[in-house]
C-alpha cells in the first residue's frame, strides 16, 4: 500500500480497513462440535457400564490365550483330507447363492431405482425387498431355510442368495439412478420400447457396477458360507463347530487355516477382476 502513496496525483482514495480476524467456525458451530464430542463420549461410557463387563477375566487373559495356542499347536495335518470336500462345498454354496442373487437382484434394482420404477408404489415394493433382504443376517437366513429345507447345502445356498439380493440390488439401483439421462433420452427418441431402452441405454452403463458388486459379494459369501454350517446349512462350518465342541483345537486350527487360505484367494481374485473392469 505504502509503495503507491507517492504516485496518486490529486485524488487519494480513502484506505479501506480490512479485517485481520477470520474464523472457520461460528461460536454456535463450535458449541455444537463440543456437544457432539461429549455425547459420543457419554454413549461409550454408558455402553461400558451397562454391559456389566467382568474385568477380572482380563487379568489372566494372556495366560488363557497362551494356553489355547498351546492346545492348538501343532496343527493336526492328518485331518486335512477330511475337510477338502466340505471346503469345496462351501465354495459351491457361495457361488450358486451369488448367481441366484444376481438373477433376482436385477429386476429388484430396476424396481427400486427412482428413474426406472413405474410409480411410487412399485418403488416402495422395491425398497422393501432391499431392506428385508439386508436386515437379516446370512446365518439367520440359514436358520430359516434349514427349518424349510432341512439341514444341508440347499438351505445354505438359499440363505446366501436371500442376503445377497438386497446387497447387489441396492448398489445396482444406486448405479441406475446415476446413469447419464442423455443416453436414455437418445434411445427413447428412436422409438424404442421401455425394455429395449433398459437393455441398450441403461444396462451397458451399470454393467461395471453389476459385475464389480457381484464379485465383491461372492467374496463376502465365501467367508459367510464358512460359518453357515454352525446352523446346519452345509459347508465347512459344520466341521469347525464340531471340532470346537469336542475341544479338538489342533483340528480347528487346520480348518481355520484352510478357510484363511481360501478367503485370501477369493479376495485376490475379486480385487483382480474388479480392477480389470473399465
Amino acid at each position: 500500500m505504502t509503495a503507491h502513496q507517492p504516485t496518486p496525483p490529486s485524488v487519494t482514495p480513502a484506505p479501506r480497513a480490512y479485517p485481520d480476524h477470520w474464523e472457520r467456525y461460528s461460536p454456535r458451530e463450535r458449541m455444537l462440535q463440543w456437544l457432539w464430542t461429549g455425547g459420543i463420549a457419554l454413549a461409550a461410557a454408558w455402553s461400558v457400564s451397562a454391559l456389566d463387563i467382568e474385568w477380572a477375566f482380563f487379568a489372566d487373559a494372556h495366560e488363557q490365550a497362551a494356553d489355547l495356542i498351546g492346545r492348538m499347536w501343532p496343527p493336526r495335518w492328518s485331518y486335512l483330507p477330511v475337510i477338502v470336500q466340505p471346503l469345496i462345498e462351501t465354495l459351491h454354496i457361495a457361488t450358486l447363492g451369488t448367481l441366484i442373487a444376481i438373477v433376482l437382484a436385477l429386476p429388484v434394482a430396476f424396481l427400486a431405482a427412482r428413474n426406472t420404477t413405474w410409480n411410487h408404489g412399485t418403488w416402495l415394493v422395491g425398497r422393501a425387498i432391499l431392506v428385508f433382504s439386508r436386515s437379516i443376517n446370512t446365518v439367520i437366513w440359514g436358520l430359516l431355510f434349514v427349518a424349510i429345507f432341512g439341514p444341508g447345502p440347499v438351505a445354505g445356498i438359499c440363505a446366501v442368495a436371500a442376503r445377497s439380493v438386497g446387497f447387489i440390488a441396492k448398489l445396482v439401483a444406486e448405479a441406475i439412478e446415476e446413469v447419464d439421462a442423455g443416453q436414455i433420452e437418445a434411445v427413447e427418441a428412436t422409438g424404442a420400447r421401455t425394455l429395449q431402452v433398459q437393455a441398450v441405454a441403461i444396462l451397458p452403463q451399470i454393467l461395471p457396477v453389476l459385475i464389480g458388486t457381484s464379485i465383491y459379494r461372492w467374496d463376502i459369501n465365501v467367508r459367510e458360507s464358512s460359518v453357515l454350517g454352525f446352523v446346519g446349512a452345509g459347508g465347512i462350518g459344520l466341521l469347525l463347530y464340531a471340532s470346537i465342541n469336542q475341544f479338538a483345537w489342533s483340528q480347528a486350527l487346520v480348518i481355520l487355516m484352510a478357510i484363511l487360505v481360501i478367503v485370501i484367494i477369493s479376495e485376490a481374485l475379486s480385487a483382480y477382476v474388479r480392477s480389470r473392469i473399465v
Partner: protein, 285 residues
C-alpha cells in the same frame, strides 16, 4: 411469414405443421407461448434465440421428449400430441434426433450405436443379442461411410473425438430413415472447424435425403451460412421467420434485444470502454 416461403412444388399436406404450441413447466415457467411453424419442403431450419428463449423446449416438444401443454404438431398430417404411448413410439421412429452432448451409449461400439436407430423395428430378443436384419447392417455400414467413419464400426463410442461422436449421432438418427431431423445444439460442444464440417454434412444430408431438419443453434454466423431458413424465438414467442438472407441487424435486435450488431470495435474505439471503470472509481471516492 412462413406462407411467403411455401412457393414452388409443395406437397398437399405440409411435412410438419406446428400450431399454437405452448409449454408451461410444472414450476410455472412459461417456456413456449403459442408457436406456429410450417415446414413444407426439405430445408434446413435454424432456430435461434437467447438462452431460455424456448429453443430446446420447442425442439423437444416435437418428438414429445418434453410434453407440450397445448397445441398440435402435425407430422405428415398426423397429430403427434394426440398419440398414445404406442402411437408416439411409432411416430418417434420417423423423427431422428441429434444432441449437443451426442448422447451415444458410451460403452457400446459405434456399430451398436448406429444400429440402435433401428430399435423401433426389432424385438427384445434381437436387441439383447444384437441380431439386426442384413439390410439394416448394410445401411449402417453405408451410413458410417457417408459420414466419414468407414472402418470405425468396432470402436467404442467413448474412444472417439467429439466430431466423430457427433457423426455417429447423425448416422444413428439417419438409420431411422426419418421424415424429420431434430438437432439440439449439435455444434455447441465442438470447435469451430468441426462445427462447420458438421453443419456442411447436415446441409448435404438434408438435400440428399430430401428430409427437413430443425436445428437449434447459438452461433448466428453458422446459422446464416448453412441454414435455408431462420426462426427466431424470444421469451417463448416466434419473433422472426424468414430466409437466412433476411436476418438483418434489426431482426437480431428483435430476437436477442438491444445490442451493437456491428463488427467488433477497431483500435481507435478501444480506449473508450477502458475509461469507463476509471470514471466509476472516481465517482465512488
Amino acid at each position: 411469414m412462413a406462407g411467403s416461403l411455401s412457393t414452388g412444388a409443395a406437397p398437399a399436406a405440409p411435412l410438419l405443421a406446428v400450431e399454437g404450441l405452448s409449454k408451461v413447466y410444472p414450476t410455472g415457467k412459461k417456456a413456449l407461448g403459442g408457436i406456429d411453424v410450417m415446414i413444407d419442403r426439405p430445408q434446413l431450419v435454424a432456430v435461434i434465440g437467447s438462452s431460455g428463449a424456448g429453443k430446446s423446449t420447442f425442439i423437444r416438444c416435437i418428438n414429445r421428449l418434453v410434453e407440450p401443454t397445448a397445441g398440435r404438431i402435425l407430422l405428415n398430417g398426423e397429430d403427434i400430441v394426440a398419440l398414445d404411448r404406442k402411437g408416439l413410439r411409432a411416430a418417434r421412429r420417423r423423427v431422428g434426433m441429434i444432441f449437443q452432448e451426442y448422447n451415444l451409449v458410451e460403452r457400446l461400439s459405434v456399430m451398436q450405436n448406429v444400429l440402435s436407430g433401428r430399435l423401433g423395428y426389432v424385438g427384445l430378443m434381437a436387441t439383447l443379442r444384437w441380431r439386426f436384419p442384413p439390410e439394416d447392417i448394410a445401411a449402417a455400414f453405408a451410413l458410417l461411410d457417408r459420414v466419414g467413419l468407414d472402418g470405425y464400426h468396432d470402436q467404442r463410442a467413448d474412444a472417439l473425438s467429439g466430431g466423430q461422436r457427433q457423426r455417429v449421432g447423425i448416422a444413428r438418427a439417419l438409420m431411422q430413415r426419418p421424415d424429420l431431423l431434430l438437432l439440439d445444439e449439435p455444434t455447441a460442444s465442438l470447435d469451430p472447424k468441426t462445427s462447420r464440417q458438421i453443419m456442411r454434412l447436415v446441409r448435404e444430408l438434408v438435400a440428399e435425403r430430401q428430409t427437413p431438419a430443425i436445428i437449434n443453434i447459438h452461433d448466428v454466423a453458422l446459422a446464416r451460412s448453412y441454414a435455408d431458413r431462420i426462426i427466431g424465438l424470444r421469451d417463448g414467442l416466434l419473433v422472426f421467420d424468414a430466409t437466412a438472407g433476411e436476418l438483418t441487424d434489426e431482426a437480431l435486435t428483435r430476437i436477442y434485444g438491444e445490442e451493437d450488431w456491428a463488427p467488433p470495435p477497431s483500435e481507435e474505439d478501444e480506449d473508450e470502454p477502458a475509461a469507463q471503470p476509471g470514471k466509476a472509481r472516481a465517482g465512488l471516492s
